[in-house]
Every structure is written in C-alpha cells, then in structure tokens.
C-alpha cells in the first residue's frame, strides 16, 4: 500500500505544480537581457535639432529607469502620473524612450501631462525597441551604474509596483553602488 500513498503524493505534487502554472501570467515574460549591458544605440532626443546625444553612455554613473512609452499607448497615460511622482522623489533618474511615435504628438504629450524624464530618446523606427526586446509598451527597465540592465517591468507602473518591486531594487543598486568599471 506504500505505492498507493506514494502515487497520491505524486498526484498531489503534480496538482500543485499545475495549479502554480495557472497563476503565472504568460504575457509577463522575463527579459533575455537581464544582467547584460545595454545594446549600442545612437538616438536623437525627442526635442530634436540637437546633435545625437542619447546613447548607452548616457546611463553610466548612476542608477536609472528607462521607460519605454508612446503617445499612442493608452496604458502609458495611466502610468504617467506614477512616473511624475517618482521623478519628484529624486530616488532615481528617469529616462524615456519614445517608441515608434511622431515628434509633434510626443511634444504635445510632454507639454500637457508633464515631463518626468531627464531626457527622452526618439526611436521612430523601433530599432532600439527590437534590440531591447520590447514587445509591449509601457515597459520599464532598471539600469545600474555600469549601464547593465538589472530588471524589467512589462505593463504600466502603479504606486504599489513601484514601492514593492522597483524601489527596493533601485535602492539596493544605489547602496551597493561602487562602480566596477
């Protein structure tokens, strides 16, 4: 009868594993770039005009957020007040990546909703988006002092997500922030 008990245990274990699988969100994929450096890029900023100054070197020396957004993206609008709040705390520099957008629309967006970004790269063709593995806006990356991607959040940030998920990582990276390069 030990075998029967063992089988029941196994079935129970299987049920637990399968149940666990149901609670995972298939849309929330891990990034393939975690703990890898930012890809090479040279982008103009959304203001335009000025010479190209949005590169991976922009991110060196401090912990930053890279927020991928677009003016056509509805959930980015939901997220925007949260970014404004984060910018006010001065915990971290927020950089934006305007993904497959029109300059005029982006300007209007930043004017009416406010600008939480230190700088916004303008990725008209979505080429950096592909290099970063962006598959749905908004997405937010945490980049450390050495320009290495440490975390990715897919979907709009909320106060809870910021406080419970991203802020602890940002603070940990800032504290342990002895640049090795």
């Amino acid at each position: 009868m030990h075998v029967i008990a063992f089988l029941w245990l196994f079935l129970f274990f299987l049920a637990v594993v399968l149940r666990q699988g149901l609670s995972l969100d298939p849309r929330r994929l891990p990034s393939a770039l975690i703990n890898k450096p930012l890809p090479d890029f040279n982008l103009a900023t959304v203001e335009g005009g000025a010479p190209i100054r949005f590169t991976q070197k922009t991110f060196l020396g401090k912990v930053s957020l890279l927020n991928v957004w677009a003016s056509w993206c509805a959930s980015c609008q939901t997220e925007h007040p949260v970014l404004m709040k984060i910018a006010k705390t001065h915990e971290v520099n927020i950089y934006g990546l305007d993904y497959k957008d029109k300059r005029a629309d982006a300007h209007r967006w930043l004017k009416t909703l406010g600008n939480p970004y230190v700088d916004v790269g303008f990725d008209e063709q979505g080429s950096l988006g592909i290099d970063l593995g962006v598959y749905g806006t908004p997405e937010t990356y945490i980049i450390d002092q050495d320009g290495i991607i440490r975390y990715k959040w897919v979907g709009p940030l909320t106060d809870a997500v910021w406080e419970q998920e991203l802020l602890p990582i940002v603070q940990k990276l800032t504290r342990g922030g002895v640049s090795t390069s």
Binding site: I4, P26, P30, A32, L33, G126, I130, L132, G133
Partner: protein, 182 residues
Amino acid sequence: MIRIILPFGFQAATTQNSCHPDRSRGISLRIAKSFRYMLITLVCWLLLGAVTAFASGQNAAASSTVPVAKRTDAKAEDIYAFSEPVSAARFAYLTREFRCLVCQNQSLSESNAPLAQDLRKTISILIKQGRTDPEIKTYLVQRYGDFVMYRPGFTSKTVLLWLGPFALLLFGLGIVVFMRWR
C-alpha cells in the same frame, strides 16, 4: 461520493480494508490491470504524437517552398520581395518558426501586430544581408528569449520541457513494473 470522483484503480484502494492481507493482493492486481490500460493508452498517444509530428514536419517542408507573396496570410509581404526563391522560402520558414510576443499563439507570419510586422521586416533585412538561419535565430533569442521560438533549442532551461513527458512516462512504467513485481 468519493467513489465517483476517484479514477479507476484508486477506488478499490480507498474503499476496501487495505490492512487485510488477503484482500490487498487482489487490490494490487486490479490496480496493476488498470495501469496496464493506462500504459496502452500512453503508448497509443505517443505513437499518435510521433505520427502527427512527422506529418506536420513533412507539411512544413512542403509548404516552405511556396513563395511568401502567394500566401494569403502575408498581405504586406509584397514589399519584402526577394530576388531569389530560396530567400523567399527561408523567409516563409523563419517567420513561421517564431512566436509573435503580442499575440502569443500566432507566429510572426500570421500575426498582424505592429511588433510582428517589424520583426518580419527585420528578418527580411537579415536574410538580404546574407545571415544564416541559425544566426537569425540567435539574433531573436538574444533579444526576446527562448519563448520567441516555438521549438526552442535544447538548453539547461528547456531540459524539462523536452524531457518532462518522457520522464513522466518512465515514472509510470516504473510504477507498473514495480506493481507486477510485487
């Protein structure tokens, strides 16, 4: 009520006095029998799986020779006209091998999501640059992870995916052998 819920074989074990030495042998025999049916079903299922996998492989091989421009599900692909039919075939094959991460149950060739359009364009450019199929696969996996492939390579991360079913089958076989041996 429990009787109804339990699968065949387990009923006997729970409803009868399992401590009784005479009966327990009869019970394990019944269970062994029910497992034999399970085993037969499993083998049939495996054979069926192998046959369909083989058939679909043949299908894919046959359809990958069809130029992509002729396919109805690739309306926008006319702009990716390839001068060589081999390239068109490779494009058709590759776009079907990758998952669109927006509509996850559609391939890049089927999906009309903006991301799928961009990735189709990227793949066509990579083909024109003379990159090989494995190079293009690496290109996408490096950016989007193993999940972008419908048939990910055999790595430490995907070992459970590839071997899990066989491990379960072996486990079942082990149980049956153990029961018969008893």
